[in-house]
C-alpha cells in the first residue's frame, strides 16, 4: 500500500495553461454543461487509462460497500464524474463563482474560537475540503492550513489570492521539519491548525484505525500533534449535494479520557474517532470517496 501511495504526486492534473483557462471559462460557463461534457468525453478516458485509480475504486465499492460487479463498475463511473465536478468547482471558485452552503454542527467550532487555546480541524479526501477554508470563515483566530508543497503553480497562486483576504495562512509540507515547528507554534499560540487526517504523506509513521469496518493506516502526525498539545479536534467534511450546493459537516472528536492515559493512546483514540465519522460520511456519499489508491490493509 505504501509503495503504491508513494507514487502519487499530490498535484492537480493538467498543464498550467489548461488550469488557467479553466479558471476563466468556469467563471461564466454553465456548470451543468461542463459537467456533461466531462462525463462524456473525459471520465471514460480516465477510467481506461488510470487503471490503478479505477481498480482501487472498484475494490472500494466491491469490498467495502458489497456492491455487485456491474453495480461497482457503474459506481466507479459515477465516482469519477463526482471527482471531476469537485475539481471543476474548485476552479470555478477561483474564477469567482460561489456555492450555496448547508452547514451542520458549526456552533461548537465557532464557540471554540472564543477560547484562548488552539484547536485542530481535520478533513479527508472526500468531497471538497478546500472549500471549507474559503467559505467557513471567522476573524477571531488565524487558521494555519497545511498544504502539499508540490501542488501546481496555478493552484497555489489562486489559493494564495483567494486566501489573502481571509484569516488563513498556508504552511507548506516539505521533507524537512520546518512545518512541524510552524504547526506547534500555531497551536501553542492559541491558533487553529487545519490539515487532512486520512492520507499518509511525509513521515511514514501511521496509526491503524477501522474505516468502514476494515483496518486502514492513517497518518500518525495529525493525531499525535493533537494528543501532545492536548487540544480539541474537529473533523470537517464538505460534501457536494447538487450543482450549486455543498453540505458541510463539522464535528468535535470525542474520546474517553479514562481509557487513554498516554499520548499514543490518545492519538490512537482520536484516529479511531475520526475514522468513525469518516465511515459515516462515506456511507452517505460513496461517490465522493477520493482516495485513488488501495487505502485498506489486507486483513
Amino acid at each position: 500500500m505504501e509503495a503504491q501511495h508513494s507514487e502519487w504526486k499530490g498535484t492537480t492534473g493538467g498543464t498550467p495553461w489548461m488550469q488557467k483557462s479553466l479558471v476563466y471559462a468556469l467563471a461564466w460557463l454553465p456548470l451543468p454543461f461542463v459537467y456533461c461534457g466531462m462525463a462524456i468525453f473525459v471520465v471514460p478516458f480516465y477510467m481506461l487509462f488510470n487503471h490503478q485509480g479505477y481498480l482501487s475504486q472498484y475494490h472500494f465499492f466491491r469490498q467495502r460497500l458489497s456492491r455487485s460487479p456491474l453495480r461497482a463498475f457503474f459506481d466507479v463511473y459515477l465516482n469519477h464524474c463526482r471527482f471531476g465536478q469537485i475539481i471543476l468547482d474548485r476552479f470555478a471558485f477561483y474564477g469567482g463563482r460561489r456555492f450555496k452552503l448547508i452547514v451542520e454542527g458549526n456552533e461548537r467550532f465557532m464557540a471554540m474560537t472564543h477560547e484562548p487555546h488552539g484547536f485542530m480541524q481535520l478533513g479527508a479526501h472526500v468531497g471538497n475540503f478546500e472549500l471549507a477554508g474559503y467559505m467557513l470563515t471567522q476573524d477571531r483566530k488565524p487558521i494555519n492550513a497545511l498544504v502539499f508543497s508540490g501542488e501546481t503553480g496555478t493552484v497555489m497562486e489562486n489559493r494564495t489570492r483567494v486566501f489573502q483576504h481571509q484569516n488563513l495562512r498556508l504552511i507548506l509540507t516539505g521533507n524537512g521539519m520546518d512545518h512541524i515547528f510552524e504547526l506547534n507554534r500555531a497551536l501553542a499560540d492559541g491558533e487553529i491548525v487545519s490539515m487532512h487526517g486520512d492520507r499518509v504523506f511525509g513521515s511514514q509513521k501511521t496509526v491503524v484505525a477501522r474505516v468502514l469496518d476494515a483496518p486502514a493506516k492513517l497518518p500518525l502526525g495529525p493525531y499525535l500533534l493533537a494528543a501532545t498539545r492536548e487540544v480539541p479536534v474537529f473533523c470537517t467534511f464538505v460534501m457536494k449535494e447538487t450543482t450549486n450546493t455543498y453540505h458541510i459537516f463539522v464535528r468535535l472528536l470525542e474520546i474517553n479520557a479514562e481509557e487513554t492515559t498516554t499520548v499514543r493512546q490518545r492519538a490512537a483514540a482520536l484516529a479511531q474517532a475520526f475514522a468513525d465519522n469518516l465511515s459515516e460520511i462515506v456511507c452517505r456519499y460513496p461517490h465522493q470517496w477520493l482516495n485513488y489508491y488501495e487505502f485498506w490493509q489486507h486483513e
Binding site: 524537512g176 521539519m177 512545518h179 512541524i180 506547534n184 501532545t228 499514543r264
Partner: protein, 85 residues
C-alpha cells in the same frame, strides 16, 4: 552535564516509545535525525513538546530547532543554558 545527557537519553526513549533502545545505545555526537537514531518529523514534534514541558524551553524557530536537535550533545548544551525548569 553528564547527568543531563543521560536524563535526555531516557526522556527521548520514553517520549518516542523506543522500546528496543537503551540509553547507552545512543551516541552523544551521532545525528538524531536521518542516519543515527533515524528519527523523523513526527518525532521532532514530540521532542519540541518534551523540551517545553520538561525544561520550559519553547522552540519556535525551525533553523534554531535543527541545530538544537542535531545530537544529544547539542540538545544538552542548549538545555543547560536555557532551561527554566
Amino acid at each position: 552535564m553528564e547527568e543531563l545527557i543521560i536524563e535526555l537519553k531516557k526522556q527521548i526513549i520514553e517520549v518516542l516509545n523506543l522500546e528496543d533502545v537503551q540509553p547507552e545505545d545512543i551516541e552523544n555526537d551521532a545525528p538524531l535525525f536521518g542516519e543515527g537514531l533515524g528519527l523523523d518529523s513526527i518525532d521532532a514534534l514530540e521532542l519540541i513538546v518534551m523540551m517545553e514541558k520538561v525544561y520550559g524551553i519553547k522552540i519556535k524557530d525551525p533553523s534554531a530547532g535543527k541545530e538544537i536537535f542535531k545530537s544529544i550533545n547539542t540538545m544538552a548544551d542548549f538545555v543547560s543554558k536555557n532551561r527554566t525548569k
